[in-house]
Amino acid sequence: MKTGSRILVIDDDQDFVQALVALLEREGHTVLTAHNGRDGVLSAQRERPDLILLDVMMDERTEGFFVAQELRRIPGLTDVPIFVVSSVYTEQPSLKVEPDRAWLGHDAFYRKPIDPNALLADIRAAIAARPGAAVRGATP
């Protein structure tokens, strides 16, 4: 089933982005990319994607934290699913930090590298759960 959603990937690692683009495009999605937070916000404002994949540690070290907040303030994007994707968080007990959902305002969190099947399944679920999905003709 092709959902044909528009997904914005904001990440400064071009190789990681390239791999994700291939994966998402094969699934029938249209992928927009931005390599830093500033371009990501501009692109989100202009393109109104259906879902956003957001990296945390970009040029300004923790840029993604602030980008998430900014994205949430864009009219029309207040409830767009944001999946935060980062390798900064670790399972190692001494360094374990969990992203603060209340503050970051994200909908899901992935440690890099991402399991392709899990990501695709979660994207399908998140997009189907949005009110807009029914309008576009998907089964509610």
């Binding site: 994700l20 994966l23 360094l95 890099k112």
Partner: protein, 380 residues
Amino acid sequence: MDEAQRGETIVVIDDDHAMRLACEQALAKVGFTVSTYADGAHGLEAVGAARPGLVVVDLKMPGLSGLDVISRINAIDPTITIVVITGYATIGTAVDAMKAGAYDFLPKPFSPDELRLIVRRGFERRRLQMASQQCEIERELERRRFVTFVSHQLKTPLVAVHQYLDVLRQLGETPEAAAKRQEWLGRCLTRTDELRHLIDDWLTLAQLDGGLLGRQRTRLDLSDTVTSVLQTYEAMAARDGVTLTAELAEPIPVHGDPTCVGVLIDNLVANAIKYNRRGGTVTVRGRRAGGEVVVEVEDTGVGVPPDALPRLFDEFYRVRQPGTPKIEGTGLGLPICRRIAAEMGGVIEVESIEGTGSTFRVRLPDAEAAVPVPATGRSS
């Protein structure tokens, strides 16, 4: 009064009613918030509830003694400053009070000015103590942030390689996958190289910091080092269309670890080529000057924006500007150079004009200097 101390809270504990009144008046008059208690038990209760900045306590009281009060205040909050009031007969006990953690003592009789002076000094010391505690906390936080950051830097290339491989497997044996495979495998090799360099550089830094590298002291001629480094970069320079030239006094005697000196010059020359432009030049100058030797590596490259200069020698710092091509590097080369120069008792400096070029200058002690130049590096 000192405006910074206005409104600070003080608890006075003394069984003598006249003394409580005198202290309260002397301190409240200049803006302190004062409460007084007639015995240790009530005083401690108030200290626990109100957490004053400072406590004035009489040493000789019925019930709980002043010394007991001091140790219990310390148990409640060790940052509370304690001033003890003592009669001349109990000076010996005052010394015990200081050992128990009191900040200072005030022998009776004292004037209001004497009390105010000692209280102000107490608050000032407390302020300095808290500021230094704050610094310690910030240093620890910075250290933890750095560990997180380093592990992120090391994981980044690994994650890219893993993601390529996992997606390739997911795409299966389709024509589109076949087209990507060749390109992606090339990228995987580049990223594993990046990780290898990162680990090598990180190890070099750790060894320099841990004293495992750079302690060897051999007499070296920097002219030889520069000449041999330039030879190894001839091919890379020719490929990039950059001309290498050397202007060297001979010899340039220094004491140092041959490996480290090689790494130092190598990193500077490599940067000068990488951040250059086609048709540009790299000039390495070496001379002896008044007890030190100076080596300059000058390029005609992209230069460094003024706001990036102070952070240039920080670990993992990379100058990133829109419009300039992304140049491969670990962000550890210059921090390594700075450590090596310091280890040899020298310094490294940079001058740069954005868009025109940079000059990195290393100044090291001259091994044949008439008067030995004192080392400025780490001495542990």
